[in-house]
Amino acid sequence: MPDSPRYTVADRPPFRLADLLLRWESILVVLLALVFAVNAWATPWFLDIYNLADATYNFSEKAIIALAMALLILTREIDLSVAAIVALAALGVGAAGALGQPTPVLVLTGLGIGLLCGLCNGVLVTRFGVHSIVITIGTMSLYRGIAQVSLGDQALTAFPQPFLDLQQTYFLADPPTPLSFVLFLALAVVFGIVLHLTATGRRLFAIGANPVAARFSGIRVDRIRFLLFTVSGLMAGLAGVLLTARIGVVRPNIALGWELDVVTMVILGGVAISGGIGSIPGVVLAVLVLGFATFGLTLLNVPGIVINVLLGCLLIGSIALPILIRRAMRRRRST
């Protein structure tokens, strides 16, 4: 525009230490350090490498689902059927085991069922234009119901040894690392790259922040939504395979209530439930904070119900604290 004066616009804002320290990820790093420090001080067994390795067994499966859930919540969606998909996938794996199938068939069965359930969610969400919270509450009952009807009060326990070895031996010997944790870290890198470094990732942020403007900008919002639900189903299927290999028994109530644990990881990871804000490093840190805090409390023989109370306080506290700090800083700046 010819008669407007020119302005120099900086490439990026000036660096401010306070901005960096108040980032959600920084707060989680501090929180994680605190968890380690307190636990190491409270019990001599916490820092034992084998204990830490075993701790990762307990959260890695949920954490794998949390990666996909983070992308969904970032785009204003949610998948509450993930735990039911885990159960249905585990059922498939158990049934294939009962038929005497080899390990690769078991793994593919679990992944395939997860993928199918995810596809089904994706079709329903994009076709009917109803919020995914409604659709996936429905499919949650549906998938879990199918598992319950087909299994009754039975349990499936016949698995080939190589399948059980996937999760009952360490994938890496030194340092001892379970397969599920290795997969979680590898997938975290993949999800992180996709979200933060690719065009697809940028589109996810745009959809989450303003789905209408995203559509007007030529982004195929429904196609991306469909893809995210499919990925979410696939991750739940993978978690189902890993969980079955770890515990070696499938009952219809397997993974009951996991969806809320997964959502907790994502929310503590700093992904805004209103969409458009979040990061994969944040979710990974939140997974570690929650996982090791739970493990430490278990080592201290704190009963499970009390652990729930403490984790609830941790979640609310860690969400409230930065908001209070920011408010205080703003007040000081404006006076």
Partner: protein
Amino acid sequence: MAPVLSLSHISKGFPGVQALDDVSLTLERGSVTALIGENGAGKSTIVKILTGIYTPDAGTVNVEGRDRRFATPKDAWAAGIAAIHQETVMFDELSVQENIFMGHMPGGRLIDRTAIRDRTKELLARIDADFAPETPLKRLSVAQKHMVEIARALSHEAAVIIMDEPTASLSRHEIGELFSLVDQLRDEGRAILFISHKFDEIFRVSDRWVCLRDGRKVGEGLTAEVTEPELVRLMVGRPIDQVFPKRDVVIGEVVLEVEGLSNATEFADISFELRRGEILGLYGLVGAGRSEAMQCVFGLSQPTRGRIVMEGRPLAPRAPGDAIDAGISYVPEDRQEQGVVLPLGIRANITLASLARHARGWFLSSSSELDATRALGDRLAVKAASWEQPVMELSGGNQQKVVIAKWLATQPRVIILDEPTKGIDIGSKAAVHAFIGELVADGLAVVLISSELPEVMGLADRILVMHEGRIVARFARDAWSAEAIVAAATGAVAADRAA
């Protein structure tokens, strides 16, 4: 006559800006005062102080001889000050009567429904509104919602009524009705503060004017004793060339052809040709189907009949992505909802529709993005602290520049501008007009949807007029008159003149 409301030496600062600096202002009974100024001059800050949303840092608010301090919006209501906003803030799911009496329902603990209905009826009759008290608000038009807000103000017996750009979303006919209502309120002895960007409205309704610039009062007086150029000079602090840029553009070959485009309800039988270097004006009243027809060309909806040919190839866009790939861009009317992604930075907004151009293998190249952002942002003179600044921190005019930059980044051959200057100040407006001239000089073809007659007549080479979903008149530049265009838009005549 003693003023019903006076603001004395009001100042209000925010981090980094002094929004109001020692502003004094009085409103008198039975008089309409126009508050004018560019975006960011401090008009909305005054409204927010008067309605109890902000408290001033210094100065006093005096209502009917008593100094007041509004801590909450309710205090302002109680003092007899009511505001009607440009985007109505009410409860869509509730009925007209519930909206009017929200916060001051008659009756004790239990709501007295009959009393509410009777009083609502009486209020609606006073302003000649023809809808029932039980009507859900969501079924009303914007103009009718304004009437509900006015009824709500009357229900408080408000002595002062603030109208903040009340005509922004109204059709010409509805604006006329609103103005007679303003006259009626004035005759009842109420004081009205009228905020508008449009000079014809200011001259039509106001008795007095007060002009703000950069948070200071730069003038006031009687509307009868001032001229438009004088007001413009006061607002911007420099004379602005209101004449539209003279262009010498050779109009080239046909780029876009639309033939018989129709959908079920909103538009029918839309046909036109668009040539390189041409600006095609699309004029009509709000609701004539202009945006809907163009959104269909852009792939946001599917036509039931008709065809589109872009650069000689048939185009049936199933989604905006198809139209973008074919070289068509659409700058939407609703900047905040459809145009920008507010929390994202300027860079992410500008590259959003052309991300594939910045991919290097699997990854986005932020340096390539930054180069494109700098080039377009500087060309459009975007004012910002950094290219990473979230768009929500920018002014309306700068947000609009970011949206236009986003579309230029897709390197379109056809660009559809839907009310590109709606709600932006005249400084930015002139810049957008000049820029449209630059675009066609570069060989683009422009479809300009506008409800502002001077703007379409000043810029367009040809004008199509739509009425109730159909093109009812076509005018060439040398064969049009304002009267003929308006007559066609209101459905008075159907004309077809040499175009």
